[in-house]
């Protein structure tokens, strides 16, 4: 277990370094990073200050070391769009809203996907199985940004049941959370279904039935306990998808989160904010992955007692 954990932590750190390296090199893609990091109309002394902050006059590897130092201290520089505001501060101010949305979407996805996944495995080829397959297929084929707009047109513009956009009451949360969560329902449901099918087909389930264990206990204790471990590995990727979903969905619903911030920043060529968002997001995702891995180790005795 300890070995497993140290390995995972090491991989996490490695991934974070890779992210900084990618962002660092992309910032220098154009050849002159100063133009990327500064507004066009920047004054000479601002220019000098930025050159100094990121060490732009130094050779590349020194620049990278300095860059890492700045990232570790949380100094991504000043926003270009909103002069005088620290990029990281802008991100941290809004990350709560994004997490709120992501969590709601996650809960929606799990609450819908687990029962459908379990029942479509238990009642394979039944109506619920076919319905589940259809939901999954649809969920993976609908672009978030489009379904969001269609929802607004139906539920906000025509039916007037829900607010069109913004954040405030729980009613504001429904549409964006469902839009983001739907895609996850599809993937999660399929995973749970196949993991459950595999578990239900195993010898240990046969043995449990031979012991005279009730079918309800066989399914929800013996099979699901094993099947639950498999989709857990997918949670890391799922969180990455939630982030992706949140970016487009926040734009569609004008949700004041990090996604909306970053898209606006891109349009305004506000590179410091963009890189702050990227690195914070990467950090959140990688951390979530780490937590999932630890959970995985705890749930699976084969790893716990490695």
């Amino acid at each position: 277990m300890l070995r497993y954990l140290t390995k995972r932590v090491g991989q996490t750190i490695f991934t974070l370094f890779a992210v900084t390296l990618i962002v660092f090199s992309l910032g220098r893609l154009t050849g002159d990073p100063a133009t990327v990091l500064m507004p066009v109309e920047a004054r000479q002394e601002d220019r000098a200050r930025i050159m100094q902050h990121w060490g732009l006059d130094q050779p590349l590897h020194i620049q990278y070391v300095r860059y890492i130092g700045n990232v570790l201290r949380g100094e991504f520089g000043e926003s270009l769009q909103w002069p005088g505001r620290d990029a990281l501060e802008l991100v941290l101010l809004r990350i709560g809203n994004t997490l709120e949305l992501g969590l709601a979407a996650l809960l929606f996805a799990v609450a819908v996907a687990v029962p459908i996944g379990v029942f479509s495995a238990v009642y394979k080829n039944s109506f619920i199985d076919h319905a589940g397959k259809f939901i999954a297929l649809l969920g993976q084929s609908l672009p978030h940004f489009w379904i969001g707009i269609v929802f607004i047109w139906i539920f906000a513009v025509n039916l007037r049941w829900l607010p069109t956009s913004g954040r405030g009451t729980w009613a504001h949360l429904i549409m964006p959370a469902v839009v983001i969560g739907w895609f996850q329902v599809a993937a999660l449901m399929r995973l749970i279904r196949s993991a459950m099918l595999e578990a239900l087909d195993s010898e240990y389930i046969k043995l449990a039935r031979l012991k005279g264990v009730r079918e309800r206990v066989v399914i929800w204790k013996h099979a699901l306990r094993n099947a639950a471990i498999v989709p857990l590995t997918y949670f890391g990727i799922m969180i990455a998808y939630l982030v992706v979903g949140s970016i487009t969905t926040e734009v569609v619903f004008s949700w004041p989160g990090v996604g909306l911030l970053v898209v606006n920043a891109v349009t305004a060529r506000d590179f410091p904010v963009v890189q702050a968002v990227t690195i914070v997001f990467a950090f959140v995702i990688v951390l979530a992955n780490l937590i999932v891995d630890v959970l995985y180790g705890v749930l699976d005795p084969r790893i716990r007692f490695e």
């Binding site: 991989q11 490695f14 991934t15 890779a18 992210v19 990618i22 962002v23 992309l26 910032g27 893609l29 154009t30 990327v36 297929l137 649809l138 993976q140 084929s141 609908l142 672009p143 978030h144 940004f145 489009w146 379904i147 707009i149 269609v150 607004i152 047109w153 513009v157 993937a187 399929r190 995973l191 196949s194 997918y234 890391g236 990727i237 990455a240 998808y241 982030v243 992706v244 970016i247 487009t248 734009v251 569609v252 970053v262 898209v263 920043a265 891109v266 349009t267 060529r269 506000d270 590179f271 963009v274 890189q275 968002v277 990227t278 997001f281 990467a282 995702i285 990688v286 992955n289």
Partner: protein
């Protein structure tokens, strides 16, 4: 494993009847949609499109579709610049095909090659490839796209590069797992005993056995790439304006959703139908060719 001593070839009827039966087993609806929405418009865009997709008539702005009482020349209405929606959607299919095709070819080739080597040679190659795959998959590509767009602006080549960047990892992961399995099979051991070279074993023994996986995987990835490109274009970090990318058109329609819903609706419908069809086709292929391939 079943004792399949009876030849599958012997019993099968031949000729036109058998051919027709095989055709009828195909998932005809998805194939038809793919042809009608994607392939035919992309090939014959110039002759099919009734209007110029790039320039519009500002006096004909925000016209509803013809079937909703709009001018009869604009079947699906016009956008905020008075451009014909139908013509733009037709030309948009070319962008979808180009991005999906180029991205899958490049990413698929790199990923398959690295995955094969990782699974067959193991050791350092495998460690490096799997680490890179893990890193690539744990960074959402959309973030990379945002950074790229912020640095150099939206570009077609950047979109293809980013698609390839995600896909290589997806291919490499799947191919590594498969080739690992086959590399440990007894027939590979027998080929080595017979004196076959590493190259021959990879190309003649392992690759043919993962071909089905590659076909299924690629089909399922088309849908992903089209949605992904759409998301990037929608956010303004994908295909640059004024190209008629479907995602861009949805973005244009977003602010007009109250007054002119068709601007966002029809391009999105094109995306949905295409993606749905490819996913259905992929599921069908998976059931036929590779039932063991799990979630992709």
């Amino acid at each position: 494993m079943p004792d399949a001593s009876v030849s599958a070839v012997d019993g099968a009827p031949t000729g036109a009847a058998a051919w027709w039966r095989r055709v009828r087993e195909l998932p005809l609806l998805p194939i038809a949609i793919i042809l009608v929405v994607l392939v035919i418009p992309a090939i014959f865009a110039e002759s099919l499109a009734p209007h110029n997709p790039y320039s519009g008539n500002l006096r004909a702005r925000l016209q509803p579709p013809a079937f909703l009482g709009g001018p009869s020349e604009f079947w699906l209405g016009t956008d905020h610049q008075g451009r014909d929606m139908l013509s733009r959607i037709i030309f948009g299919s070319r962008i979808a095909i180009a991005v999906a095709g180029a991205g899958i070819l490049i990413g698929g080739f790199i990923g398959t090659a690295l995955g094969l080597m990782a699974g067959y040679f193991r050791g350092v190659t495998e460690t490096v490839v799997t680490r890179l795959v893990d890193v690539t998959l744990s960074i959402p590509a959309i973030l990379v796209a945002l950074v790229v767009a912020a640095a150099i602006g939206a570009r077609f080549s950047a979109v293809v590069a980013i698609v390839a960047l995600v896909l290589w990892a997806v291919y490499a992961r799947q191919v590594r797992a498969e080739s690992l399995k086959w590399a440990q099979s007894d027939f590979v051991a027998r080929a080595r005993v017979a004196g076959a070279s590493h190259f021959r074993i990879i190309v003649r023994h392992i690759l043919p056995n993962i071909a089905n996986t590659l076909i299924v995987l690629s089909t399922l990835q088309v849908g992903f790439v089209i949605v992904f490109e759409g998301s990037l274009s929608f956010l303004g970090v994908g295909i640059p304006r004024p190209n008629p990318a479907w995602g861009l058109m949805v973005a244009d329609g977003r602010i007009h959703v109250v007054s002119a819903w068709w601007i966002a609706f029809f391009p999105g419908l094109a995306i949905m139908l295409t993606v749905l069809s490819f996913n259905m086709l992929g599921d069908w292929l998976r059931d036929r060719l590779d039932p063991k391939l799990t979630q992709v």
